[in-house]
Symmetry: C4
């Protein structure tokens, strides 16, 4: 299997995930302003998850661009990442419908953390296959952003039970950290 | 990221959006003619949204055909456009189920207006990246059709509360304005 | 727009349609054999619609293989065809849930007839664009199978109110007529 | 039709199937730990089905890589395989919602068995078209793993009524058998 084939499949899954999330936005019952108000938390959560999936799509693309071949391990590490991302619409719906209640807010962080861990595993397998002198290893470096994100998720999960707005704030912060495409890899590609 | 990759992803999202809208058409309860009648407004709204998404798919394709490279800004402006388009099935379902009530009719216009604004932002970023002498800048020109559409949506939104059929009429009118593929770009491609 | 691009988009929509139909199969309430029995008509209808969409995908592919360029008219005729096909999951769900009641059975025939007409319009526009001596014109010939299918649908629609099993039988018959890939075009491709 | 085209369509359907399964995970009613607990069996079933679809995607890709041309029979055998796989989200939802009750557990095995049989039919048609000396025939050999899987499914189906955990264990066992990409074909590709 070529990296192009794996990327096309992943792109397909990500395009579907980013789109079917909208099916979690339930049509309001009624046509008044007050009928619309309960869907605002759902809409805000939808925006956040949309941005997260956009970030994954973008960074995943950059990473596969530097991947030369696909081993069995890489293929399953990629499916493992897609598995955790596939839970995003489900967890988005649960958090949005319940106006950011503590447990769904924590569960949202768990899914983000495990997707992040799956991404790091995939990255490590590709680097191990290519050897330490590979362009991807150089581009990723010590992966400070990845480690910081994981630490922030790990803080946000228990924090949801103390004050869920703190966790929400951390999720927004991590999204902002990644919103900009990975300059490290871009810089490497240019040089 | 190449324009081709971004276009393939956008095509995927648009193909899914145009198709999952049909899931908003709820199966009628019963097998009589009267059981079918409440779905006619939903069906009409579905037809209108199907045409709008078809127009976006077509014009988006023409625009990316004249795009040479994808910057981080262009990538996120494109995801921003897809975000507003992703709300089309949701807003279509709400307007259709409520027989064109004022608030859903106005909300439909808001989504169309913001999708239109997102399209203009994307177009402006591509032109800025290519410089004023680019083929796309020449093809778009003063973008009278784009400005007229935005003005018409802005009129239709408050009008929904006075008489929703007026707003509906404007939405149909704007769709007809764009139904024909953008002759400006086509003319430029031929010359 | 190239025929390849239009085909990729159509393939995407058809792949989604053939797959989301399964969402119309509602999970049975209960775990007994009797809980499963009401979904059998839905399952049978699903099989029939799956075969119809498979036939459209196959014949559409053969037709676009002989298409040299895409005009604005061809593009919208193609979207028109996709529109009617997009109603297949909806109408399949309605007929299947109501155990082949007369009105849903007739409505199923209406959607099949209009999809067939949309296919003939698309075919006619491609042939008109290519001229009478084109390979597609030669391959289609007098299109006896297309005309016969339309006539059979037209008979099956009113017949649903007399005896819905007769209409069902006709739908199965037309599917069998087309199940075999279009030998006329295949024969032409080989020569 | 080229094998590449058929593979792209199949990849699309598999990407959609693996993703829409998550729509069968119903948002929990409530925000307590006890509200979450009924979805654990659904989540476990989802993981199992996700792995099965990943295996099919991977092996299907390897098989089509060794396929030179697509006949009408191969095309319909492929759609036949996709049909059974399309029932996976439905049967996953039914088994997961009912905490592995006997009948849904048996039905899950029936769908897996018929998908396996459809895969073997597709494989046999491709080999017959290529002749006994083809690379695919050499790679598949006596297909011990395929025959063993079918036998295990056939045992698991009646066993669901005796003790459904036994059937579940067999489904997990067969998944583990296939989790590793088909070394036979990979070995052949390398030599």
């Amino acid at each position: 299997m070529t990296p192009g084939r794996m990327e096309a499949f992943s792109d397909g899954v990500l395009a579907i995930l980013i789109t079917i999330m909208v099916l979690e936005l339930k049509t309001p019952h009624g046509t008044t302003m007050s009928a619309l108000s309960p869907i605002f938390p759902a809409l805000l959560t939808y925006v956040l998850s949309f941005i997260y999936l956009g970030i994954y799509w973008n960074n995943h693309h950059h990473m596969l661009h530097l991947t030369k071949r696909v081993t069995g391990g890489i293929l399953w590490a990629n499916l493992h990442l897609l598995f955790w991302l596939s839970l995003v619409p489900f967890i988005t719906g649960w958090m949005g419908e319940n106006h950011f209640a503590p447990l769904p807010t924590a569960a949202y962080g768990v899914v983000l953390l495990l997707a992040g861990v799956a991404y790091v595993i995939l990255q490590a397998l590709i680097i191990r296959d290519q050897g330490p002198g590979s362009p991807l290893a150089a581009a990723v470096g010590r992966d400070l952003k990845g480690k910081l994100s994981a630490a922030l998720y790990a803080i946000a999960i228990p924090l949801a039970f103390a004050g869920h707005f703190l966790s929400q704030g951390i999720y927004v912060l991590v999204a902002l950290l990644w919103l900009i495409p990975d300059r490290r890899i871009e810089a490497h590609l240019k040089s």
